[in-house]
Amino acid sequence: MNINKNIAISGNGFVFDPTTGESFSLNSIGTEILSYLKQDMSKEEIVLAILEKYEIDNITVEKNYVEFLAILREYKLIEND
């Protein structure tokens, strides 16, 4: 999985994709995950980072992570290898 490295992520949850000209808004956890992806962190590392910071269980984070990535894929912010 490759993230579109050109995208600009602002700290308060806005994403701009210069390739398509599209903009997106994210909540804070969405912004965090996208930043982690940009840093090439693995799924396991991202899940662990969220578990350490937030009051939540492993299964929920994994489930939400998979779903979130599917949306990123649909918006062409990430691509499969």
């Binding site: 997106f24 956890i29 995950i33």
Partner: protein
């Protein structure tokens, strides 16, 4: 260090300048209390889903409506529309406030009698009154609103048989300038049918004509339509007085006042577009005051308002079952409240509010009920805060029709509780159990043995 509150990650594409079919965001605060009683506590005690009624809201709304009319006209009487919500506890709140009963079937009539309403304070409407229903109503001096000629002649023959003089009114349908025009109930004004029916009643010595009735439609967004109806009914009353020297005792305007719910597809919310009680009252009372009816003959105005009096007092509390993505990538949420419990979801965009704190982020969401049926849609489109499986929510303004038109379908119907004015919660209808439903059935002997 204390960990932060988690929220499911979301991302929304920004479409500036594009029309938004999901509407604008409506939820800014969670609903955690109803009448100062904790929503979570109610659910803990009585389960999810559960219907909640507010006695305070019912009484306050009734008083508002009554004041709007009594401030403008000397003789006003409300009659509680049983079909809107015929839970006995609800009916009795309205009866305590002074409402008579308005019923449309033998079943509802018996309910009103069992609730302790005097027969002469029951208005009997509707197209389906059996001979025995009518006999009971005649004996009890109830106000019978005749729907069609077959009913009129049945009442004439019963009056002879019982040697009683039934108190009757006719239901009049008419063009009030709104669409659709309800013409299936009662006698038509413009065609002369209503005048003909009145003449047939008035030449019969065995009937007492006491009133005129109309029910021009439902969810009427134009208050002036009631003014048109009142003007036409007043014209009939004047003609009756002139020809027979008989004063009509009351004019019943039926129901039809809109509640503040938003109709599906409406551009503006119902809170902005629905007339107030004062606007309806102004239209109705003006039609009588400005008519040719003489002051000494001013009839009582009867109102059978249902929806507008009870909708705001009803809530259903429920829980999110699942979040999922549809084939087109759009977001959907499955909740444990389906159209079997929320019949009005077929025509209202019901307000769904989380029962716990949420962030400022929202998602375009389709909200589906739990039934394995494609029609089970609570909101086709809504811009809702992020909710997780297990989160609770409150659907507001559901007091009208949902507790009468509900269905025992696929799941069992839950409890209904009421919060009294002292913040005590009372169960006013138990939740159904399998044995309740099975108790109505009988399996013939040859079908009892199965081998699978």
């Amino acid at each position: 260090m204390k960990k932060l509150t988690y929220e499911r990650p979301i991302i929304n594409k920004i479409n500036s300048g594009m029309p938004n079919k999901f509407g604008t965001r409506t939820e800014y605060q969670p609903i955690t209390y109803i009448d100062e009683v904790s929503v979570k506590e109610i659910m803990k005690e009585h389960g999810s889903p559960v219907y909640v009624l507010s006695e305070k809201t019912i009484r306050d709304t009734y008083k508002d409506a009554k004041k709007a009319f009594t401030a403008r006209y000397p003789k006003v009487q409300f009659a509680w529309s049983y079909k809107t919500n015929y839970l006995n506890a609800v009916c009795n709140i309205f009866h305590q406030e002074g409402s008579w009963a308005e019923v449309v079937s033998g079943f509802e009539y018996d309910k009103a009698i069992a609730n302790g309403v005097s027969g002469n304070h029951i208005i009997f409407n509707g197209p389906d009154k059996s001979e025995s229903d009518l006999e009971t109503a005649i004996i009890n001096n109830s106000l019978i609103h005749i729907d069609h000629y077959d009913e009129l002649y049945m009442i004439i023959s019963l009056a002879e048989k019982l040697e009683k003089k039934p108190k009757v009114a006719i239901r009049v349908n008419m063009d009030t300038g709104i669409s659709p025009q309800w013409s299936r109930f009662g006698f038509n004004y413009e065609s002369g049918e209503a005048w003909d029916a009145l003449n047939r009643i008035l030449i019969n010595k065995n009937l007492e004509l006491v009133g005129l009735h109309s029910h021009i439609g439902t969810y009427i967004l134009t208050a002036n339509a009631y003014n048109v109806a009142g003007t036409k009914l007043a014209d009939l009353a004047v003609r009756v007085k002139e020809k027979y020297n008989h004063a009509i005792k009351y004019i019943d305007f039926g129901g039809g006042f809109a509640s503040k719910n938003t109709l599906i597809g409406a551009y503006l919310p119902g809170t902005d577009t629905c007339p107030t009680f004062s606007e309806y009252a102004e239209a109705i009372t003006t039609s009588i005051i400005n008519s040719r009816i003489k002051l000494e003959d001013f009839p009582t105005i009867i109102l059978e308002t249902g929806r507008a009096l009870i909708d705001d007092a009803g809530f259903i509390l429920g829980t999110v079952l699942a979040n999922k993505r549809l084939a087109d990538g759009s977001k959907s949420m499955v909740i444990n409240v389906g159209v079997n419990l929320l019949f009005t979801a077929f025509w209202y965009e019901h307000r769904i509010t989380p029962a716990q704190n949420f962030s400022s982020h929202t998602e375009h969401t389709s909200v589906y009920g739990p039934l394995c049926m494609n029609i089970d849609v609570i909101r086709q489109t809504a811009d809702l805060p992020v909710m997780r499986k297990g989160d609770d929510f409150v659907i507001s303004r559901i007091g009208a029709y949902n507790m009468t038109q509900w269905m025992q379908f696929i799941t069992l119907r839950p409890k209904i509780v009421i919060i009294d004015t002292g913040r005590q919660v009372h169960v006013i209808r138990k939740n159904e159990k399998n044995e309740d439903i099975n108790s109505f059935e009988h399996v013939p002997d040859h079908l009892k043995k199965i081998n699978v």
